[in-house]
């Protein structure tokens, strides 16, 4: 686990138990993916009773997805209808990306695919075959937050927090694209991420702050 950039010493116990179960999930879902669409007992059951897994019959055509998600290899078979968001949340239990509108209108599901921000709700899971996916779970650790995560805390850039993972992923991309050079540009290039609590003032301040720090590191 020492080589795992996501695992810090203080959280090793919790993180490693998560990692183990996540690996089990990946193993299990390699043959049973589409779990999220079926009224099945969740992950724990399938990881302790692997023999039940092959009996699952997916309702429609499937596609194989071999990808790297937050640096970890993933090899799953998905119902072709599955969105990247549902693959992450329901099958891989990476619940950081949120389902707001499920139609690409709110940005809460923003993740990076091959280094570019996309809405995972409008991305077919089958499309990320061969791709690198980065979610909020992969950008920092509990002890060493990404500068953007720290800036959101420092600037009170959230109230309820539901949109925050999408805001942070979009904001990191916004800085890397070179579109965080002014408050106006930040507002324009962050317009795909809605915050119904109205924390926009804090969000703009956080991005300006993090942009300076990301440039410095």
């Amino acid at each position: 686990m020492a080589t795992d950039p996501l695992t810090s010493p203080a959280t090793a116990t919790r993180e490693s138990s998560q990692s183990v179960s996540r690996r089990d999930v990946l193993k299990a879902t390699a043959v049973t993916s589409g779990l999220g669409m079926l009224p099945m007992p969740a992950v724990g059951a399938s990881s302790t009773q692997p023999e039940t897994a092959p009996k699952l019959k997916l309702p429609g055509p499937t596609a194989r997805v071999v990808a790297r998600i937050n640096g970890r290899p993933v090899d799953v078979q998905v119902d072709t209808r599955t969105s990247l968001l549902d693959l992450l949340r329901e099958d891989l239990k990476l619940t950081g990306a949120k389902k707001g509108c499920d139609h690409g209108q709110c940005g809460a599901c923003t993740v990076h695919v091959d280094g570019r921000r996309v809405t995972s709700c409008l991305t077919l899971a089958a499309k990320v075959d061969g791709a690198e996916v980065l979610t909020i779970e992969g950008v920092g650790t509990k002890d060493r937050l990404h500068p953007m995560q720290q800036a959101f805390i420092d600037h009170d850039a959230l109230q309820c927090g539901y949109c925050t993972p999408g805001q942070v992923m979009a904001a990191i991309a916004c800085v890397k694209e070179g579109n965080a050079h002014s408050a106006d540009s930040i507002r324009e290039f962050m317009s795909g991420n809605l915050c119904r609590c109205g924390a926009y003032v804090g969000i703009v301040a956080a991005i300006q702050d993090a942009a300076r720090k990301m440039g410095a590191t």
Partner: protein, 330 residues
């Protein structure tokens, strides 16, 4: 959502044979997958063409602009030659959608995006000739604030929602098409159809055909151009009214002007009477305002969208002045 098969062909030949068997193309998926979730689109076989080689190139030179249909909106908008030489094109992309969607959507698929008419999108409670031919149109006489002032028929008044196609229409853009009968070329104006009594047929593509490239003829004067878009909110919304405007100015006189309107037509709407009026005149605020009024002289408003006539005239006038300023700065 209905079940479907998914395949990723690597070359055009594989695409053609699958299309002949009734498969549908998916590229960015920002329209198609969205409408599949609403059960409006029900393809049984999808061909993901985003990995086809050589269809993402962006080229700007003396022969104009050539863009592969699979280039992403964000990449085209950020291309230096487009941004500097054809600001109207770059702005039409940047003022559409969000950066996340622009990273996904292709400029070919963008042209074929479907209407945002709520009666079309919100399903079978409402009659919609586009969704279910022959069922009627709930928008006519209904809540038509977002509906067309140009190009409507008794069957459909749904607005074409895109921006990119409006800019391309202003600059006489064309598409290269490949299909079972070989290759052909259409202007963007010919590609997108008026609703007439067949509003479910939205474009001129035949079964098995796909767009491979988008071209814009050379226009050195297009530096003096803008895509001016007014929305209900400042960003990330469809147009209430937009104007794609370019002016070819010599010593303050207009040699040639292009004016196309978005957000108000069943397809991108070229304001030919305004263009003719502008030709040969010196450009000042009064001339620009008169051109704006002329652009909307033939508008046919419904119950709730009449405000777009005055708004639109001002959008055209402002776009002309912005373009002229860019022309004199260049």
């Amino acid at each position: 959502m209905r079940t479907f098969t998914y395949a990723r062909p690597r070359n055009l030949a594989d695409v053609s044979s699958a299309l002949r068997n009734g498969a549908r193309i998916i590229a960015g998926g920002t329209t198609l997958y969205d409408l599949m979730k609403l059960d409006i689109e029900q393809p049984s076989d999808l061909l993901d063409i985003t990995e086809l080689d050589d269809l993402s190139e962006i080229k700007v030179d003396r022969s104009g602009v050539t863009i592969g249909a699979l280039a992403r909106m964000s990449d085209v908008a950020a291309h230096d030659g487009i941004a500097k030489g054809y600001p109207m094109l770059a702005e039409s992309l940047l003022k559409a959608a969000s950066q996340q969607l622009r990273n996904m959507a292709t400029v070919g698929g963008n042209l074929l995006q479907r209407t945002r008419c709520p009666y079309f999108r919100n399903g079978s409670h409402y009659p919609c000739n586009k969704r279910t031919p022959g069922s009627g149109c709930a928008a006519i006489g209904g809540l038509d604030r977002g509906h067309a002032l140009f190009g409507g028929s008794e069957a459909c008044i749904a607005v074409y929602p895109g921006d990119w196609a409006v800019a391309l229409t202003a600059l006489d853009g064309t598409v290269d098409i490949t299909g079972p009968q070989g290759k052909r070329s259409l202007s963007v104006a010919e590609l997108l159809r008026l609703p007439g009594d067949t509003p479910h047929l939205e474009n001129a593509l035949q079964p098995g055909e796909m767009i491979t490239h988008i071209r814009v003829p050379p226009a050195p004067w297009a530096r003096a151009s803008t895509y001016h878009k007014i929305r209900d909110r400042e960003s990330y919304a469809f147009a209430l009214v937009s104007a794609a405007v370019a002016v070819d100015l010599k010593d303050g006189q207009i040699r040639n002007a292009r004016v196309a309107l978005g957000g108000v037509g069943t397809k991108p709407w070229r304001a030919v009477s305004a263009e003719a009026f502008l030709s040969g005149r010196p450009l000042d605020r009064n001339t620009a305002q008169e051109a704006g009024r002329l652009a909307f002289a033939e508008a046919k408003p419904g119950h709730h969208n009449g405000f777009k006539i005055e708004l639109g005239a001002r959008v055209v006038a402002d776009a002309l002045m912005i373009s002229a300023e860019r022309g004199s700065a260049a």
